[in-house]
Subunit: 376 residues, 2 copies
């Protein structure tokens, strides 16, 4: 938590749950990527947090945007982004949405199937297209394979057909999986992409861009490999696999730009024991899976917590949300411990909560409003 | 799908995804419960669908309401419900929310822990309280144990202390689990509740109400036991376990009141194969887990689907939503088959989609709006 956020929380009587984002942290994260991967064009993954304050800041700093939908594209344009810096990176698009994006000036589209490529050809003639490759994502906390990406063979075949469809075969993308804590998948994915670049180059088809996607991990409850190490691995892998012919590089970080900028302040609603003989307490917060903590599904993202009594004697807890739904339990097996003195009305801060919290909140399940947001 | 909904969908050029609810079906479902369990006071579980049209209709018909939060209570009051017909049935409540509910005239509160009972005593003196018992919920598609309910011993102990706290020990509630397809849990739960009634009665403490909760199943893709059979089991179990001393009965159906009233119309965004050698197609709809189909988590609720080509040759599909998130896959293992002719732009109707779809939609993950709603 930055001093700015701490002061804001201390000086304002905010209704909980609320998210406070320090925009300076976002700018620092952006500049850090520029320093560590100077050759990479950044397309911020808008879905991680599409707040106008964030898009304005990143647009002014020169970032591009990875948009998942027409509304996201419109938000980026409203933030002042030139259309040329917006990539429509969702591989699943309605044809009329492709047409609308094209009207708005978007000329860069992702695909991972023959059928999607045909839609882009019909609705966005002459555009640049890049093919999403399915790659190894073991080691990721939130894997992204299965739903997205095609095989190397299919990627090559589809890119070969692009010119006949009136499209520019522009490059390859992949995604090693969100919150990827292993360095190897980046190397393997870059190697696989390079094979396709070489194969097509030998046939006279020169791809121009390699999009490394996102997946850069951030520290939640556990340490993660430093961004320096991941970017060093990427630089080394690019040299290893592409030699003197490194293509234009793009990255699509989302979590790594916004997560650590935000703190969610919550209130303890109830502390109870299911059975007096069991030491484990149930701690119910005023935010849960339906209010913004969607990424606690399967206890995947384990947020670090701060309480007013940190340092005092702790005991095991189950952490749950405030709704009448039994799936609204965040952590039951992850070994969370909280102070024994914790009681209703105490405030708990959830750290590094700036990513995938605001937009994954439901419109009002059980009558609870989505988390309030403050950008400072 | 009722003729009214079919006509509405056919005659209106609605933007998909959209939910169309036939209010007549809701009224029929309400009357059916009144017919099958005439002795039961109904508290509609607002969380299932809190649309004002539904609350107005049920309030006018004489139903009560099971509210999970102050905003839900306010919605019920706005629909004309007398406060005496509203139960604050969430066992997890902020003390100031209890106080606010009390100010609004609510005098019936659920609890399942000593700590919650103390909050109710402090903020809603003299109120009626009922204790939620943890009961067997195997057989339920969406079990509700774990997070809620206490042991029989603890329930008895807590109800005994209520008078000393200035509260009226009013009764017992349980919930056999949502979409419960086994008849036995109702019988067992009623039997367990009756033991507590008898035990306390022997000490001179006469509980007045048994709240059977919800869990009444509705037919999705598979048949479920008819409501007649479930209600017959309940009537028999009440006679068996309570004899001549059957208490006031309450029920809290939500899903069983609204699910079958609604159809979600969706559009196919993409049909693709991950690999040409695999027969399985991926079918991406314009609604998914983040847009209202939250209950497909773990493939728990399996909706019945209708396509324009029903009856034609079918093949296996994976059904996924439109976002860039890999968890946004509804059905991968449930054996769904759809027509081979299916292509982008086709409309698919999701049947019995009136419950837990509107409020579990996210505020706009990936820029996609929550499902549009029509109440006819």
């Amino acid at each position: 938590m930055t001093p700015k956020v701490a002061n804001f929380l201390a000086s304002s009587a905010l209704t909980t749950p609320c998210l406070v984002i320090d925009l300076e942290v976002i700018e620092r994260s952006f500049l850090r990527f520029r320093e560590l991967l100077p050759q990479a064009a950044m397309y911020y993954a808008v879905k991680a947090n599409p707040a106008p304050s964030i898009l304005n800041l990143l647009s002014a700093a020169g970032a591009g945007f990875d948009a998942a939908s027409v509304p996201e594209i419109e938000s980026c344009l409203a933030a002042g982004s030139p259309p040329a810096l917006i990539s429509y990176s969702n591989t699943i698009k309605k044809q009329r949405d492709i047409a609308r994006a094209y009207e708005l000036g978007i000329k860069l589209f992702a695909f991972d199937s023959k059928e999607e490529l045909a839609k882009i050809a019909a609705a966005a003639p002459g555009s640049r297209v890049f093919c999403r490759l399915a790659v190894e994502s073991s080691g990721a906390v939130w894997p992204l394979d299965g739903k997205f990406g095609c095989s190397s063979r299919m990627a090559g075949d589809l890119l070969r057909t692009a010119p006949d469809l009136g499209l520019e075969p522009y490059g390859i993308s992949f995604h090693v999986g969100s919150q990827q804590c292993d360095l190897v998948p980046w190397n393997l994915a870059i190697g696989r992409a390079a094979m396709i670049f070489r194969e097509l180059s030998a046939e006279g088809l020169e791809l121009k861009m390699l999009n490394l996607g996102g997946g850069f991990p951030v520290p939640y409850r556990s340490e993660v490999p430093p961004l320096d190490d991941i970017c060093a691995t990427i630089r080394t892998s690019l040299a290893q696999h592409f030699g003197n012919r490194i293509p234009d590089i793009a990255i699509e970080p989302g979590r790594a730009i916004v997560a650590t900028s935000g703190v969610i302040r919550t209130e303890v609603v109830l502390v109870s024991r299911r059975d007096e003989s069991v030491p484990e307490r149930w701690v119910y917060l005023d935010i849960g899976k339906f209010g913004g903590l969607d990424e606690t599904a399967g206890e995947a993202i384990q947020y670090a917590l701060r309480t007013p009594a940190d340092g005092q004697e702790c005991g095991p807890v189950v952490l749950a949300g405030p709704t009448c739904d039994s799936v609204d339990v965040m952590y039951q097996n992850a070994g969370y411990q909280l102070p024994l003195s914790l009681c209703p009305g105490d405030q708990i801060d959830i750290l590094a909560a700036g990513a995938y919290t605001t937009t994954t909140a439901t419109v009002g399940f059980n009558g609870f409003s989505p988390v309030q947001q403050y950008y400072i």
